[in-house]
C-alpha cells in the first residue's frame, strides 16, 4: 500500500477531528480560549482537506487506505462521491454547531469533556462516510454509539441518565444485530470493498434465505439509528440532551449514519438488482411509509417543541429510506439530496428552538406567542426551516420532495404519492401553529420566564444567532441554485449516475 497523498488523505480527514478531540480532553476546564482555538483550527483543517478531496474526486482520482485487520476483511477507507457529500455536510454543520455550542455552553461545567466527545462523534461520522467495506462501517458505527452516549447524558440529571440507558439499550442492541448481519453476509459473500452495483447479485440463487435474513438483520441494526418505526423510541427521549447535541444527533451524526448505512447496504452491498430479485424493496418501502405517517401523527400530539421536532426528524429521515427503497434513479437522487437538505433545515429548527429556550426559557409550544416581535431574526430562520420542511418552494425541502414524487411515479408506485402528499399536509399541520403563534399572537402579558440579552443590539448572543441564519440562508440558496453542478442536487446526480452506471 504505497503511502501517496491519495491514500493518506482519508486518514488525515478522520484525524483532523480526532486529534483536536483528544487535545481538548486534555485541556483544563478554565482554558476556554485554548479550547476554542484548537476546536476551530481542527474544523478549518478538516474543511480544507474536504475541499481538497472534493476537487480530487471530481477529477476522478481514487482515495483509498487499507490496513489488514481480519482474514478476508481489511479496514478500508474509501473516499468516493457518496462519502464526500456526507463528509461535506457533517464538516459544515460541525462548524455551525461548534460556534453555536461555544455560546450555548458558556456557563455550564465540563465543556472540555463536551467538546472532546463532540469531535470524537464527528470523526466517527466521517469514518462511517469513508468506510470502504462493511467491517470498517461496523467499527465506526459502534464507535459512534460510544462517542454519542456521553453527549446524551452530558447533564447527568436522573432524566438524562434514564434517556442515556434507553439510548444505550437501543443502539447496542442494534449494533449486535448489525454485527450478526455482517457476519452472516461475510460467511456467504466475504467482505470485499463497496462496489456500485453491489457484490451479492451472483450469489442470490444459492442462498436466498440467508441473504434475506442478513438484509433483515442489517436493516434492523441500521434502523435503530435511522429511527425506523419500531426502533425509534430512543430519539424523543434523547431530547433531554443540550440543544447543540440534539442538533448534531438529528441533523448530522446519528440519524444520518443510519440512513447512510441503508443507502450503502442497498446500493453498494446488495445492489439494485439483488434487492429487487430478493423482493426486499417492498417491505422496506412499507416500513418507511408507516414511519413517515406514524411519526407525523405522533408529532401532532407533542406539546414540547423539541419533542415535536424529534418526531418530525423521524418522519423526514424515512423519506431517505423511502427514496432508496423506490430503487429508481430519480428517486435515488431525491433520497441522497434529502440527506443534505433535511440536515440543513432540521439544524436551523433546532438552533432556533435552542435560542428560544436559552434566551426566553421557552420550551412549550403555547409559550411561543409573540416571539416574532421579541426575536424577529430567530423566528424568521425558524419559519424558513419550517416552510422548507413542509416543502414550500424555493427552500431545499421542495426539491427533494419533488424528485421523490417524480421518482415514485417513474417506477409507477402511485400510492407513494399519497403518502408524500399526506405527510406534507401533516407537516403543515404541526408546523403552522408554531409559525402562526410566533408572528400573529401578542406576546404574553406577564412577559417571558427569562429575558436574557434584553435591550442589546441583537436579540440574543451573536454566536447563538449567526448559525441558524447561515443555515437558513444555505437552505434557500441550495433550493434556488439547485441546478448548478456544485449544489447538493448536482452532486447527488453525479453520485447516482455513477451508482446506476448511467
Amino acid at each position: 500500500m504505497t503511502l501517496s497523498w491519495t491514500t493518506v488523505l482519508p486518514v488525515l480527514i478522520i484525524l483532523s477531528s480526532l486529534i483536536p478531540g483528544l487535545l481538548i480532553f486534555a485541556t483544563p476546564e478554565k482554558a476556554a480560549r485554548r479550547r476554542i482555538i484548537i476546536n476551530l483550527s481542527g474544523i478549518f483543517v478538516k474543511l480544507m482537506l474536504v475541499a481538497l478531496m472534493l476537487a480530487g474526486v471530481s477529477q476522478g482520482l481514487e482515495f483509498s487506505f487499507t490496513i489488514a485487520f481480519l482474514p478476508g476483511a481489511a479496514l478500508v477507507l474509501q473516499g468516493d462521491a457518496l462519502a464526500l457529500q456526507f463528509i461535506a455536510l457533517s464538516s459544515v454543520l460541525w462548524l455551525m454547531t461548534t460556534v453555536y455550542a461555544i455560546a450555548y455552553m458558556e456557563k455550564s461545567p465540563l465543556r472540555s469533556r463536551f467538546f472532546g466527545y463532540f469531535s470524537l462523534c464527528v470523526s466517527a461520522t466521517v469514518g462511517i462516510a469513508l468506510a470502504g467495506n462493511m467491517i470498517t462501517f461496523l467499527l465506526f458505527y459502534e464507535l459512534l454509539t460510544l462517542a454519542t452516549f456521553p453527549l446524551v447524558v452530558h447533564r447527568g440529571t436522573p432524566e438524562a441518565m434514564r434517556a442515556g440507558r434507553i439510548y444505550l439499550a437501543y443502539t447496542l442492541g442494534g449494533g449486535a444485530m448489525l454485527l450478526m448481519g455482517i457476519a452472516l453476509l461475510h460467511s456467504i459473500a466475504g467482505t470485499p470493498n463497496f462496489v456500485p452495483g453491489g457484490y451479492v447479485t451472483s450469489l442470490v440463487d444459492g442462498n436466498s434465505l440467508s441473504l434475506r435474513i442478513a438484509f433483515g438483520l442489517m436493516i434492523v441494526g441500521l434502523g435503530v439509528k435511522a429511527a425506523l418505526v419500531p426502533l425509534h423510541g430512543w430519539l424523543p427521549q434523547a431530547m433531554v440532551a443540550p440543544a447543540p447535541v440534539s442538533a448534531l444527533l438529528h441533523a448530522v451524526a446519528v440519524v444520518k449514519a443510519g440512513a447512510f448505512g441503508i443507502i450503502r447496504v442497498v446500493y453498494d452491498v446488495y445492489g439494485i438488482e439483488a434487492t429487487t430479485l430478493l423482493a426486499l424493496t417492498q417491505p422496506l418501502m412499507w416500513l418507511a411509509a408507516t414511519t413517515i405517517i406514524f411519526a407525523s401523527i405522533r408529532a401532532l400530539q407533542q406539546q414540547d417543541i423539541k419533542k415535536r421536532l424529534a418526531y418530525s426528524t423521524i418522519s423526514q429521515v424515512s423519506y431517505i429510506t423511502l427514496g432508496v427503497s423506490l430503487v429508481g434513479p430519480v428517486a435515488a437522487v431525491g433520497a441522497i439530496v434529502h440527506l443534505v437538505h433535511q440536515g440543513l433545515m432540521k439544524i436551523t429548527l433546532f438552533f432556533c428552538a435552542g435560542n428560544f429556550a436559552e434566551t426566553l426559557g421557552i420550551h412549550k409550544i403555547q409559550e411561543m406567542d409573540g416571539l416574532g416581535q421579541r426575536m424577529p431574526w430567530s423566528m424568521a430562520a425558524f419559519t424558513v426551516g419550517a416552510l422548507g420542511m413542509i416543502g414550500v418552494p424555493p427552500i431545499a425541502g421542495f426539491i427533494s420532495k419533488w424528485y421523490l414524487v417524480t421518482g415514485a411515479l417513474e417506477v409507477n408506485q402511485d400510492w407513494v404519492l399519497l403518502i408524500l402528499a399526506g405527510s406534507a399536509l401533516l407537516n403543515a399541520a404541526y408546523f403552522m401553529p408554531l409559525i402562526y403563534r410566533g408572528w400573529f399572537h401578542a406576546p404574553p402579558a406577564g412577559g417571558w420566564h427569562e429575558n436574557n440579552f434584553a435591550g442589546q443590539r441583537l436579540e440574543t448572543h451573536w454566536m447563538l444567532l449567526l448559525p441558524p441564519l447561515v443555515t437558513a440562508l444555505l437552505s434557500i440558496l441550495v433550493g434556488i441554485f439547485a441546478g448548478s453542478i456544485f449544489s447538493p442536487l448536482g452532486w447527488s446526480q453525479f453520485i447516482v449516475n455513477r451508482e446506476f452506471g448511467l
Binding site: 490496513i67 489488514a68 485487520f69 481480519l70 482474514p71 476483511a73 479496514l75 465540563l110 469533556r113 467491517i135 461496523l138 467499527l139 459502534e142 460510544l146 452516549f149 456521553p150 447524558v153 447533564r155 447527568g156 440529571t157 436522573p158 441518565m161 442515556g164 440507558r165 444505550l168 447496542l172 442492541g173 449494533g175 449486535a176 454485527l179 450478526m180 457476519a183 452472516l184 461475510h186 460467511s187 456467504i188 434465505l209 440467508s210
Partner: protein, 478 residues
C-alpha cells in the same frame, strides 16, 4: 527450546533468590528485580516464539535424555510459545501496576508472582499427564497464597478455594492413574493414537474433565471464584482472573483434542458448548445483579469463560481450525481485558473509598482515566470492534453462520454479547450520573489509573496484529 526453558527458569530462579535474600533487600529492590526477571523471561519467550515460527513444527525435548516413552517430554508448539509470551506480558503489566501504583502491594507478592509465572510456564510446556498434575498443584497453591496476601478477610474464601482445588486435583490424578493403568503411557503424544472409547477411558476422561472444570471455574463448578477473586488484592485478582483460570482450560483442551479418541470428543463437544452458553448467561445475569464492583468483574470472568468453553465445545464437535483460533484469541483477549478491568475496579475502589457499584456515580469526572480504562476493557469483553474480543467473536461467528443448522449457536453468542453489554454498561452509565457525585479522596493516584489503562489499550491494539495472531494460531497448536 532453550529459550523457552530460559523463560521458564528465570522467574523460578529469581523467586528463589528473592526468598533467599528476603531480609537484605528493601521492598523497592525486590520489586525491581522481580520486574527485571519478568522482562528477561518475556524476551526469552519472544525468541522462543520466533524459533517455533521458523521451525514450522513444534519442538520436543525429552528431559534427562531418556528415550521418548520414559522421560518427561516438554513440547514447545506455536500455541504454548504464544501463551508463554502472553503470561510474561501479563506479569509485566500487572507487576508494573503493583510496583508503581500508590495502592502498593505486600512485599511477599513479588516472590509469589515469580513462582506463579514459573509454574504457568511449566504448565504450558509440559506434555506429560502426571507432570501437568504437579503444575496444576503448583498453580493452585501459589494462587491461594496470593489470595491470602490481603489479610484476614481473605482467609475463609482462600481456604475454601484450596480445599476445592485439592479435591479437583485428586479427581484429575485418579483419571491419570486409570489412563496409565489402561494404556501404560503418561506421555500425551504417545497416548493419543492408542486411546479407544471403552469404559475405563470414558470414566478416566470424565473424572479428569470434572477436576479441570472445577479448577478453571467453568460453569456448574464456578461458585468458589467470585469470593476468592473479590477478596484478593487488586493486582492478584487481575492475575488470577486473567491467567490462572486459563491453565486448567489449556489442559482441558490438550485432553480432549489430543488424548481423547475422536468419537468421545464428538460426544462431549455439544455438552461443553451448551455449558458454555449457560455460563455466558448465568454469569452475566449474576454480574448484573451483584452490588459490589469487584464481584461484577469476578462474575464476568465466569461469563467470559463461557465463551471459551463454547469455542472448545464447538471445536471438539466440528474440528474446525477457526474454532481453535477463536478459543485462544478469547483466552488472550479476555486475559488482557480482565486484567485492565480488575485494575481499574481496584483503582476506583481505593480512590472513591467505596466497594459498591452505587458509589461510582460521577466517576467520569472524579476518576476519568480509571473509568475510561474500565469502559475500554469492557468494550473488548463485549466484543466491540476493533478490540481483541471482537476479533475472537468474529472468527467464532464465521463458521457458525455459514450453515443455517448452526444458527442456534450464533444466537447464543448474540445473547452473550447483549448480557455482557448489560453488566458493563450498567457500571459505565452510572459513572456519568452528575446529580449525586461521590467525591474522590484528595489526589487520586494518576499513575495507577494510567497503568490500569495500559492492558486495555493493548487488547484494542490486538486488532492491528490480528492477522499475525490468526496465522500463528492456524497451525492447530499441535
Amino acid at each position: 527450546m532453550n529459550f523457552a526453558l530460559l523463560s521458564l527458569a528465570t522467574p523460578l530462579f529469581s523467586g528463589l533468590l528473592l526468598l533467599l535474600c528476603d531480609r537484605a533487600l528493601k521492598t523497592g529492590t525486590v520489586a525491581f528485580w522481580a520486574i527485571v526477571s519478568t522482562v528477561v523471561s518475556l524476551a526469552a519467550a519472544w525468541l522462543a516464539l520466533q524459533d517455533v515460527v521458523d521451525a514450522g513444527t513444534s519442538i520436543m525435548l525429552n528431559l534427562g535424555g531418556w528415550e521418548t516413552g520414559l522421560a518427561i517430554r516438554l513440547r514447545l508448539s506455536s500455541l504454548s510459545a504464544l501463551l508463554l509470551v502472553f503470561t510474561a506480558l501479563m506479569h509485566l503489566l500487572i507487576g508494573l501496576y503493583a510496583g508503581l501504583s500508590r495502592q502498593g502491594i505486600a512485599r511477599d507478592y513479588w516472590p509469589l508472582s515469580c513462582f506463579l509465572h514459573g509454574s504457568l510456564a511449566a504448565l504450558w510446556l509440559s506434555a506429560d499427564l502426571f507432570n501437568l498434575y504437579i503444575t496444576l498443584e503448583l498453580l493452585g497453591l501459589t494462587a491461594v497464597a496470593m489470595v491470602a496476601l490481603s489479610g484476614k478477610k481473605a482467609y475463609k474464601p482462600a481456604a475454601n478455594y484450596l480445599i476445592l482445588s485439592l479435591a479437583a486435583s485428586l479427581f484429575y490424578l485418579l483419571g491419570v492413574a486409570l489412563l496409565y493403568g489402561r494404556y501404560g503411557e503418561l506421555d500425551v503424544l504417545l497416548l493419543a493414537p492408542r486411546t479407544e472409547a471403552d469404559v475405563i477411558t470414558r470414566l478416566a476422561l470424565l473424572l479428569m474433565t470434572t477436576g479441570l472444570m472445577l479448577k478453571a471455574a467453568l460453569w456448574p463448578l464456578h461458585l468458589w471464584l467470585p469470593p476468592a477473586h473479590t477478596s484478593a488484592p487488586t493486582a492478584v485478582s487481575a492475575l488470577l482472573s486473567g491467567l490462572v483460570v486459563k491453565g486448567p482450560l489449556f489442559i482441558l483442551w490438550v485432553l480432549w483434542s489430543e488424548v481423547a479418541p475422536p468419537e468421545l470428543a464428538q460426544q462431549i463437544g455439544p455438552v461443553l458448548a451448551i455449558a458454555g452458553m449457560i455460563a455466558l448467561t448465568a454469569g452475566g445475569l449474576s454480574a448484573m445483579r451483584s452490588p459490589y464492583i469487584k464481584t461484577v468483574v469476578a462474575y464476568s470472568t465466569v461469563a467470559q469463560l463461557g465463551y471459551a468453553l463454547m469455542a472448545l465445545g464447538l471445536l471438539l464437535t466440528w474440528q474446525l481450525p477457526q474454532m481453535h483460533i477463536a478459543l485462544w484469541l478469547f483466552v488472550i483477549a479476555h486475559g488482557l481485558a480482565k486484567a485492565s478491568l480488575f485494575l481499574a475496579a481496584g483503582e476506583m475502589q481505593s480512590s472513591l473509598g467505596t466497594r459498591r457499584v452505587e458509589g461510582l456515580r460521577g466517576a467520569t469526572q472524579t476518576v476519568p482515566v480509571a473509568m475510561f480504562a474500565f469502559a475500554v476493557a469492557g468494550g473488548s469483553l463485549i466484543g466491540l470492534p476493533p478490540s481483541g474480543g471482537f476479533l475472537a467473536k468474529w472468527v467464532l461467528l464465521e463458521p457458525l453462520l455459514s450453515q443455517p443448522g448452526n444458527w442456534p449457536w450464533a444466537i447464543g453468542v448474540l445473547l452473550g454479547t447483549l448480557v455482557s453489554a448489560a453488566y458493563i454498561f450498567r457500571v459505565v452509565a452510572l459513572s456519568f450520573d452528575r446529580a449525586r457525585i461521590n467525591p474522590p479522596d484528595i489526589n487520586p493516584d494518576r499513575v495507577g489509573h494510567w497503568l490500569a489503562l495500559l492492558p486495555a489499550l493493548m487488547v484494542w491494539g490486538m486488532a492491528l496484529s490480528g492477522e499475525w495472531l490468526i496465522q500463528l494460531l492456524a497451525g492447530g497448536g499441535v
